[in-house]
Amino acid sequence: MSATTATVTGKSGRTGTPRPRGGMTRRRPVDWLLLALVVAGGILVLVPFYLVLVNSFKSPVDYATSGPLALPHELDFTGIAKFWERVNFPEKVWNSILISGVVSVLAVLISMLNAFAIGIGRVRGRTWIVLLFLMANLLPQEALLYPLYYMFKSVGLYDNIWSVIIVFTVIQAAFGTYLLSSVYGTFPKEVLEAASLDGAGRWQILWWVVFPISRPTLSVLLIFFFIWTWNEFLIPLTFLASNANQTVPVAISVLQGDRLMDVTTTSASALLGIIPTLIFFLIFQRTLTRGITAGAVK
């Protein structure tokens, strides 16, 4: 495992919390003031979450009498239940999981194949190929929207979750190719040579050497692709017309402004949109906050 990182790790011994040093950790009044400032900003960031959380469990009457800031007098689940049944929430969650799950696996696979050819195979013109993939990821999706809509209609994939799966596999794999190519470009040569001397072909080297060694990077990509696809909106909105195929963000947004959505039901709809991503965040938090920084500077 350490082989991948051996070439690139330097003196990264210093971790998050530096040891307190004499004098410098003395807290002056101004430090407390700055802490208060940052905490106040943090509270401001959390206020919308708090409002949605407390008001999802109120009845409309409770909301009208006690106002938005108060805790509910008693827990009332009608708003949540009403929205849950109206959109058939478990079905939407399943659609989102299916789409995001298949996309992330396929996109990682394609990124790996592409990056193997570019980073390790060093095919001719690879700088341009990487640039092409990067541009494909940066393009506004509107520029592909209508032709894709027309294409999927004519092959019968319109209003089918596979249309969305195919599109996002390509878009996410474009980013994955860009990132992974530079990672594989610094792959330790000795390991590849040793495998080659042992008589392994390219395909075997890919699966028995490159894949296991780069698995930490691949798993970060997998999580990213999952969450990015989960959060996508424009393409699922356009290609998944019928209720039964919609993803969580689409199902929630198309009901906004609906006459049946009273104030607490709308709040419940926002809460149900927050919960799945909050769960991912808690599960993947460590990998994620590190991964973003990995993607940042490449």
Binding site: M1, T4, T5, T7, V8, G10, R14, P18, M24, R26, D31, L34, V39, V45, L46, F49, L51, G67, P68, I110, A117, I120, G121, R122, V123, F133, L138, L139, E142, A143, L144, L145, Y146, P147, L148, V167, T186, F187, L197, R202, P216, N231, F233, L234, L237, P249, I252, S253, Q256, T266, A270, G273, T277, F281, R290, G291, I292, T293, A296, V297
Partner: protein, 335 residues
């Protein structure tokens, strides 16, 4: 464990770049990293084939087709009709088009300028003051707090804020203002409040991204540097400018580039909060193109707007990369 080291290195760009260069020098650049037996290097193209075919069908062909559509009048039903540059000429006299792009400037203010500046300040405070004097735990807890809105699907973030600014007396904001005797405001039904609401959503969503990236970048900074500067009598602002900003400049570039592109492409929040209203005042290019495609069914014109947006995105990326390269070159020359 391996993960830690991997990211530890990627944040320290210059170090990893030089080491990458070193490994490459040992292998000639046009040689594959695996020694070649029979077959040569051609076989690697096979690995690119699936990815490339998919890219062709899903991105390149639709992109070309979309440009072709800009010369057509098409309502999606009967055959398209060739009209030359008419769609392109229409852009110049179309107020909605210019409104949509001038709103992009407001989106850049809300998604790039404000979050980057605030993010720099928050990250520097968390790292330099709070992490150092109140412990790393407090710092990382606050960092996670600022990052929280980033994990939401952006439309859900829009719905959350949209819920708070509901019109009439049942909106949370209106209720709270009512305690001070302020009458109900139709936040989304008038300008400039509708645009301001959109901008607030974007600042709320975006802020966590620069905070997290900049804090990771600050791990590169040797704390002794700050201490030395402090002993030399440099105040916080001087240290911030001389040390923090100069060391994490690569990350500032990346954040401004990715956020600018995201700001140009913004769609979801406009769709769920204002639908471009009131009276088209909060249109953005992507929502305008979507409307032309699927509501008004002027497909050729929608394709033209989408093409302009694409060109702007490409130009912005090129400018950023150029500027970054020239800054890096100047730095190298200065050393």
């Amino acid at each position: 464990m391996t993960l830690t080291t991997r990211t530890g290195d990627t944040t320290r760009t210059s170090a990893s770049r030089t080491s990458a260069r070193r490994t490459r020098r040992t292998t000639p650049p046009e040689q594959p990293a695996i020694p070649q037996g029979k077959g040569g290097t051609g076989g690697y193209w096979l690995y690119l084939l699936p990815g490339f075919v998919l890219l062709l069908i899903i991105v390149l062909i639709p992109l070309g087709w979309n440009v072709y559509l800009t010369f057509q009048k098409w309502r999606g039903v009967r055959a398209p009709e060739f009209i030359g540059l008419e769609n392109w000429q229409k852009l110049f006299t179309d107020d909605a088009f210019w409104t949509s792009f001038s709103n992009s400037v407001w989106m850049i203010l809300a998604m790039v300028v404000v979050p980057t500046i605030l993010g720099l300040l928050v990250a520097a405070l968390l790292f330099d003051v709070i992490g150092r004097k109140f412990g790393g735990k407090v710092g990382s807890f606050l960092r996670a707090t600022y990052y929280l809105p980033q994990i939401l699907p952006v439309v859900v973030a829009g719905i959350v804020i949209g819920w708070i600014v509901r019109p009439d007396s049942d909106g949370a904001l209106n209720q709270m203002l009512g305690w001070f005797g302020i009458p109900d405001v139709d936040w989304l039904g008038r300008m400039p409040s509708a645009l301001i609401v959109l901008m607030v959503v974007m600042v709320w969503v975006q802020l966590g991204y620069p905070v997290v990236i900049f804090m990771a970048a600050l791990q590169r900074v040797d704390p002794e540097l700050y201490e030395a500067a402090e002993l030399d009598g440099a105040n916080w602002i001087q240290r911030f400018r001389a040390i923090t900003v100069s060391i994490i400049r690569p990350e500032i570039f990346v954040v401004t580039l990715t956020c600018t592109i995201a700001a140009l492409k913004v769609f979801g929040p406009v769709y769920v909060i204002t639908r471009g209203g009131p009276a088209g005042a909060t249109l953005v290019p992507s929502y305008y193109a979507y409307q032309e495609f699927f509501t008004k069914r002027n497909i050729g014109y929608g394709a033209t707007i989408a093409t302009v947006l694409t060109i702007v995105v490409v130009i912005v990326s090129i400018i950023f990369i150029r500027v970054q390269n020239s800054v890096e070159q100047k730095e190298r020359a200065g050393l």
